[in-house]
Amino acid sequence: MASNGLKFALFLGCVIPNRYPFIERATKAVFGKFKIELIEMEGASCCPAPGVFRGFDIDTWLVVGARNITIAEELGVDIALMCNGCYGSLLEVNHTLKHDKEKKKMVNEHLAKIGREFKGTAKIRHVIDIMYHDIGPEKIRNRTKYGRKVPLNLNLAVHYGCHLVKPRDIRPWDNQVENPTFFDELVEISGCKSLNYKDKFMCCGAGGGVRGAFKELSLDYTREKLENITAAQADAIITGCPFCHLQFDLGQVEVNNIFKDKISAPFSIPVLYFTQLIGLAMGMKAEELGMIRSPDLKGVPPFTPVKPILTKIGESA
């Protein structure tokens, strides 16, 4: 593949490859259009998840996280990833090990048993970060301007997710924490409007092991977010994280079910990963962005149909 010099190791994590593979597909397709080379990280594992596994044993979390990073270090490139959870984990692991000599020593003693060594040569980048800082809004705008005959013109509810922006210390958003705008900027390049809605920056409820252990609690967050998003009359929810994505997509079905008596009407708001939206704006086909369902498969996402969006923008579904 021709490259513009930008080359990353693509870290998949768990939810994307094993539950939401269309996020992988759409991201690879869109990055291809910008001639960014994405190399597979063979043998990568769970990041491991920052809420659960870190909550069980911090040292194990550091060791396994470091192993994932060593795969990219061996490839000699930085890591690109699509998940806020993986971002939180690997960013924090990388930062800790670069600055804490003792922890690094501990980690490398364990890694030695599988013939690996953490060096600290790779950077951890979220695809939103790469889009915003490396490709840049200007370049994306140039690609989207003539991508479609009719601009998308949707009203969108952007969901940032927590680990994308917090804690602020080691993240590239120039102290944007309480009221960030960078994701909205990116989304609005597609020709859509990014809505303000109540508690826009609130957590989706999935993280920290809460979804795993206390599903009702986690879905109550989601219910509140969905109510606020509905109040703002959004056409779709835009995510930058597969776990938030799952929580809104599958979670919507679950909320409609368990909070039947609490909600005024069942929710049905399409959920899109942001690379899918950018792809659409660039004139890419719904098919190559993974937005067409397989007629044969049951029990696979999207659980909340995205078809209304495709219909609305005049894409054949």
């Binding site: 998949l12 768990c14 939810v15 490859p17 094993n18 539950r19 593979p21 992988e24 597909r25 990280m41 063979e42 043998g43 990568a44 594992s45 769970c46 491991p48 998840a49 920052p50 809420g51 659960v52 596994f53 870190r54 909550g55 069980f56 044993d57 911090i58 040292d59 194990t60 060791v63 396994v64 192993r67 048993k113 599988i114 927590c162 680990h163 917090k166 804690p167 602020r168 924490v177 309480e178 508690d199 609130m202 957590c203 409820g205 999935a206 993280g207 920290g208 092991g209 809460v210 795993g212 252990a213 206390f214 609690l217 986690s218 109550d220 967050y221 397989s294 498969l297 029990g299 696979v300």
Partner: protein, 185 residues
């Protein structure tokens, strides 16, 4: 209705706060109970979980009460409190560290144990299955992702590491499976 009940504090100890101090969380001792953490907590808005109270219990050393309470696992690690705490207490990190201590004491939620088993067995917290392999193929991707799923040697590496850090022993997976009864939260 029960009239007589008491939750009198009869002992204050440094044990728990010293564990946190040793781990580097000195700021916790400077918490002034302002309530910024619990005031902005999305979990606390719908449960009885109070981050602020948790911090006080740690300061006073109510160890058993803190570690055994399943509310410790109500935090969705959104880092809102961490960002806003005026005393610079890394609240979320403190909670995560407390969870480590809880796990060491054997307090864990059953679904989390299942997660550990999957992690040990496959290298993924959320592993693939046939249905999703089909979905991958539908999206023109390899049926197994190029992760530990595709590379058994890599999956073995994960197990070696989990043994090396004694994560298997801690959570009762692998060789330790079912050999130990875990207390539910």
């Amino acid at each position: 209705m029960e009239i007589i009940k008491t939750n009198k504090i009869t002992k204050i100890s440094d044990d728990l706060s010293n564990l946190l101090r040793d781990a580097g969380y000195l700021e916790l001792s400077a918490c002034i109970q302002c309530g910024t953490c619990s005031g902005g907590c999305p979990s606390g808005r719908r449960t009885a979980y109070r981050t602020r109270s948790l911090m006080k219990k740690v300061q006073l050393g109510l160890k058993e009460e803190v570690l055994s309470d399943k509310e410790l696992w109500f935090c969705s690690t959104c880092y809102t409190c961490y960002e806003r705490c005026p005393r610079g207490v890394p609240v979320t990190d403190v909670i995560i560290y407390l969870r480590n201590l809880a796990v060491q004491e054997g307090y864990m939620q059953a679904p989390h144990l299942a997660l550990c088993k999957m992690f040990y067995d496959t290298g993924h917290g959320v592993p693939i299955n046939d249905n999703f392999s089909q979905l991958r193929k539908h999206h023109k991707l390899s049926d197994l992702p190029p992760t530990t799923h595709q590379f058994p040697k890599a999956a073995k590496e994960i197990q070696t590491l989990l043994k090396s850090t004694e994560f298997d022993k801690l959570t009762g997976v692998g060789d330790y499976e079912k050999k130990e009864d875990k207390k539910g939260g």
